[in-house]
């Protein structure tokens, strides 16, 4: 039963990825202009343009081009950049690693803090502490990511002089330097991701606190801390893991802004630069990587919810 549900969920994810790939392909091929002409420039001879059109399969129907494109994506061969003829795999290689590192450090940093804040806010619900946390998270959720980053720079770099403001060094020699370089991007991203995570964790726990078995524990004399930690928390693990995975998907939007602000050499910065030069194959590939990451997180969230539902476990 539970295996079948998870397999179905994975099947839905694959199907979704296919539909998303169609949407990305259609969106990037909407422009009526001739890509071959754009690549070769105004001075190209008609023969050269015709040759390139053939090489790029532009003379074939769109469905055929989509299948070739999808095949290339799936076999790890998304083509070469239109701007500098470097294979896209080479361009992305190291940068994907940088972005994953940034995302990983942010997650390792923000998940424990967010969980602690969310759980304590639910534990001391309706106190001044809870209100402060709730207001702060609403404020962070309602402002753009770049504003969170600029405020972080104002506080930590301009006022406190703890970290360099808007520079990113490519050659990092020591652990200390690594920390300084990572600090501002990680702090900014953590704020963006944690705010959502705190809100959802608090909501999930409060939901469980309203259940009859928690009331029963309280009636039997358990204090508020004990009722939350030993009775409510174990039963809220599922929704909380779900909330964590969903909040981490906010990394994908945040990372685009943060990498641009701090000039961080990751895949999101590569994509934003690709938009400026209209390097379509590069943009398509980055877009598919982003969609894959997002889908993976959402699917993990759903599977956690399935696994954590005890009613399904014993059927």
């Amino acid at each position: 039963m539970i295996t079948r549900m998870i397999l179905t969920r994975l099947g839905v994810a694959v199907l979704t990825l296919l539909i998303v790939s169609v949407v990305v392909f259609v969106a990037t091929n909407m422009l009526p202009g001739d890509v071959a002409q754009i690549v070769l420039g105004q001075a190209a001879t008609p023969e050269a343009v015709a040759g390139l059109r053939k090489a790029m399969h532009l003379d074939q129907p769109a469905v055929f081009r989509y299948i070739i494109w999808l095949g290339g994506m799936m076999t790890g061969n998304p083509g070469t950049s239109l701007v500098n003829d470097i294979p896209i795999v080479t361009l992305i290689g190291g940068r994907l690693h940088n972005t994953l590192l940034l995302a990983g450090v942010t997650a390792a940093f923000s998940v424990p803090i967010a969980l602690a804040l969310g759980i304590t806010a639910a534990m001391w619900r309706n106190t001044l502490y809870d209100r402060l946390v709730s207001f702060a998270t609403i404020a962070v959720v309602s402002v753009p990511e770049f504003m969170v980053a600029t405020i972080a720079v104002l506080i930590f770099a301009v006022r406190l002089h703890w970290f360099p403001a808007l520079s990113f060094a490519n050659d990092v020699h020591s652990l200390g330097e690594l920390l300084r370089v990572f600090a501002m991007p990680v702090i900014s991203l953590s704020f963006v991701v944690s705010a959502q995570m705190i809100r959802m964790t608090r909501a999930a726990l409060i939901d469980t606190l309203g259940q009859p078995f928690v009331e029963m524990a309280t009636l039997k004399g358990a204090g508020r801390v004990r009722a939350v930690l030993t009775h409510a928390l174990p039963n809220a693990i599922g929704p909380i893991v779900n909330a964590v995975a969903l909040s981490l998907s906010y990394l994908l939007g945040g990372v685009i802004i943060v990498e641009t602000i701090f000039n961080y050499p990751g895949i999101a910065k590569l994509m934003v630069d690709g938009v400026a030069t209209r390097d379509m194959p590069l943009i398509q590939t980055c877009a598919m990587i982003f969609c894959l990451g997002y889908l993976a997180l959402v699917t993990v969230a759903d599977i956690c919810a399935i696994l954590a539902n005890p009613r399904l476990r014993y059927k």
Binding site: V12, L15, T16, L17, I19, V20, V23, V24, A27, T28, N29, M30, L31, I138, A139, V141, S142, V143, P144, E145, F146, M147, T150, I151, V153, L154, V158, A165, L166, S249, L252, G253, I256, I257, T260, I261, M271, V272, G274, V275, A276, R278, M280, I283, Q284, C286, A287, F290, C291, Y294, L295, V298
Partner: protein, 288 residues
């Protein structure tokens, strides 16, 4: 029996009365701020003290002074004029996009819910897939493909946010569709569009309006993000996100030219969020 029916409204009134006074003050303040920005967006050109592109001062990144109430930007242009005129783009584009997104989403959601069957299945599955597209990333793809102009921005933002609106509208309409008065309307032979327009829509208008506000906030944030990346509203015009981008070099000095447009965005989005939170419960909740 009469006693029973009498007491319910009274307890409810008392429950609302206890908390509603303080709540409505916050809500009213938020509505005032929202109204303020909408009015500024409408009458901006008559309010701005200087033309939008005019360099009025030799000093860049100045602090507020009597001539330039919000200081000057990185070229020495008047910041207050630029923020007033930027309101047109941030508020105008976002309202237009949110309106289109909600209209399409709600219409499609209601049709899906009432028709049901294979139409509902296909539309719902397709839209589930669209929800799995990261918004900012897809904005980049569209702008890269067709370039940035106001119609493209409005269209892209509407496309990205109608799926969420569809989901909520469909969930609401599915519930209402099961209620007796809708079944009665169908049984007495009312047509499809009459049922949707006269029976279902009026009963979900509150939550739909609340959802419109939320979508407006998301769209303001995304538009600001795109403009901040230089892909939204193009120079010499600028929305608030673009104003932050232009002046980001003043960040190291804490110049008001960076802070003021950020505050403008925050005041608008936080107000809408808080206003929705403080709507009367009857209006906001999922079912009337």
């Amino acid at each position: 029996m009469t006693k029973h029916t009498d007491t319910i409204p009274e307890t409810r009134r008392r429950m609302l009365g206890a908390g509603s006074l303080t709540i409505s003050v916050v809500g009213a303040m938020c509505f005032c701020i929202i109204l303020f920005w909408v009015v500024i967006a409408l009458i901006g050109p008559w309010l701005a003290p200087y033309p939008i592109g005019k360099i009025v001062s030799m000093d860049v990144f100045t602090s507020p002074s009597r001539d330039y109430l919000l200081g000057t930007d990185y070229l020495g242009r008047d910041m207050m004029s630029r923020i007033i005129l930027g309101a047109r783009y941030t508020v105008g584009v976002s309202i237009a996009a949110a309106f289109i997104a909600c209209t399409i989403g709600v219409a499609l959601g209601m049709i899906s819910a009432v028709l049901g069957g294979w139409f509902d299945t296909i539309v719902s599955r397709g839209i589930d897939a669209l929800i799995a597209i990261p918004h900012l990333m897809f904005g980049l793809v569209i702008i890269a493909a067709i370039g940035s102009s106001l119609p493209v921005l409005v269209g892209t933002l509407a496309f990205l946010y109608f799926p969420g609106s569809f989901r909520i509208a469909r969930a609401l309409a599915v519930n209402i569709n099961e209620l007796d008065f809708v079944q009665v309307a169908k049984a007495r032979g009312e047509g499809f569009f009459y049922t949707v327009r006269e029976e279902i829509l009026p009963n979900m208008i509150g939550p739909v309006l609340a959802d419109f506000g939320l979508r407006f906030v998301f769209i303001v944030l995304l538009l600001s993000g795109l403009s901040f990346l230089g892909l939204g509203v193009q120079p010499p015009n600028a929305d608030w996100g673009a104003l932050v981008r232009e002046n980001v070099s003043g960040l190291a000095y804490g110049a008001p030219a960076v802070i003021m447009p950020s505050l403008a965005i925050a005041s608008l989005t936080i107000s809408v969020n808080l206003a929705i939170d403080n709507l009367p419960r009857r209006l906001r909740d999922r079912l009337p």
